[in-house]
Amino acid sequence: MRLTRTLPVVLVLTLAVGARGDAPPDQYFTFSPASLIIIDAHTTLIWLRAPVKKDMASPNSAIAYVGALQLCTNLNAGWRLPSIRELLSIVDEQPHSEHVGGKDVSIFIDANAFPATTPQRFLAASPDPANGVWWVDFSSGAAGVTVSNDQALYSVRCVK
């Protein structure tokens, strides 16, 4: 048993978890840490807690966007891309800090509810993707639309 290799990994794993969130206690229905979904009691939206995709190149072409859209619809059971308004409803205006990619980043989400949120742009439904792909950036809480391929990376979180 390689103690010297195992213990540091375990310690890093345990110490790395310190996520916090600021959603009011009644915002989400009771969930357990192992829950795959979470329900917002006020918006009645049902979210998949983990992103279905991350580190995706900008889906500005219609073809790339359809591929991104299908990440959710292929799950069936009514899963879809959220609208920009729906994504903004899970932005936590009080960000918390996480250590990602070797540095501390601010993440604008309730990490108790959505623990695996990448500090990236999350894709929203976009009627005309070739001319504008909507997103909410959870490293800043900002929303916007990008009209051409850019260097930003995208994640996808599904809702229904």
Binding site: D22, Y28, A41, R85, N112, A125, S126
Partner: protein
């Protein structure tokens, strides 16, 4: 030889102890109160600062103080633009619909129950306080109390299906105004101790940014109701 035989069990014991102690952190059990979890009681226990000064808003009385001025979260279903037909099942979309009161120049979102004082659109509020003062002073539909909308309240108007502006045309039409610029919200930025940093929402050019900006005059669209 004896020490080598014990090395493995000790290693296992050490890992088990660390895992057990750390397991609470890993699975987030330390976040749960030691009471029965009723509906909505166990999710997101931490509604306030956790004592970590690096991430807590400074408790110096500024508007970003979480305790005295908690952030507004969505309290209603999210209404989506009715022209949204991105190939999704209709049952999963919450369609928006509005009731316009042209006499008073207000429009009501029948999903969120927010009422917007469109005719009283104020293009040049010099500060968030100025915007608040303006909204509080409105007499439209008195005795309704008007206020500056929060970030998420104003975000419910972002229409990503609109062609020339990210806003349903019915809203401007209700008050006969042109809505443009970075609108004040009552939501302070909580990443800086500067009391003048607020979230803003813009509907220009089919693009809406929700971002914190410094002081600078901007329009305000007063709101009432909700929930």
């Amino acid at each position: 030889m004896r020490s080598r035989r014990w090395r493995f069990p000790i290693a296992v014991a050490a890992v088990v102890v660390v895992m057990t102690l750390g397991c609470e952190l890993v699975v987030g059990l330390d976040k749960f109160d030691k009471v029965d979890c009723g509906v909505g009681q166990c999710g997101a226990i931490e509604a306030g600062p956790d004592g970590d000064s690096a991430t807590d808003a400074p408790p110096d009385g500024n508007l970003g103080d979480v305790l005295s001025n908690p952030a507004k979260w969505a309290q209603w279903p999210i209404p989506n633009p009715t022209r949204w037909d991105a190939g999704v099942p209709d049952a999963s979309i919450q369609p928006a619909f509005y009731t316009s009161d042209f006499t008073n120049g207000v429009i009501k979102d029948e999903v969120t129950k927010l009422v917007w004082a469109v005719k009283d659109y104020h293009a040049m509020a010099s500060s968030e306080l100025d915007a608040e003062t303006y909204c509080k002073g409105l007499k439209t539909l008195s005795p309704i109390v008007w206020r500056v909308p929060s970030r998420i309240e104003l975000a419910t108007l972002i229409d990503f299906t609109a062609k020339t502006k990210a806003l349903d045309p019915a809203i401007e039409a209700a008050g006969g105004v042109t809505i443009t610029g970075n609108h004040w919200t009552s939501s302070p930025s909580r990443t800086t101790s500067n009391v003048d940093y607020y979230w803003r929402v813009s509907f220009n050019f089919g693009e809406s940014m929700v971002t914190s900006t410094t002081t600078g005059s901007g329009p305000v669209l007063c709101v009432s109701g909700g929930g």
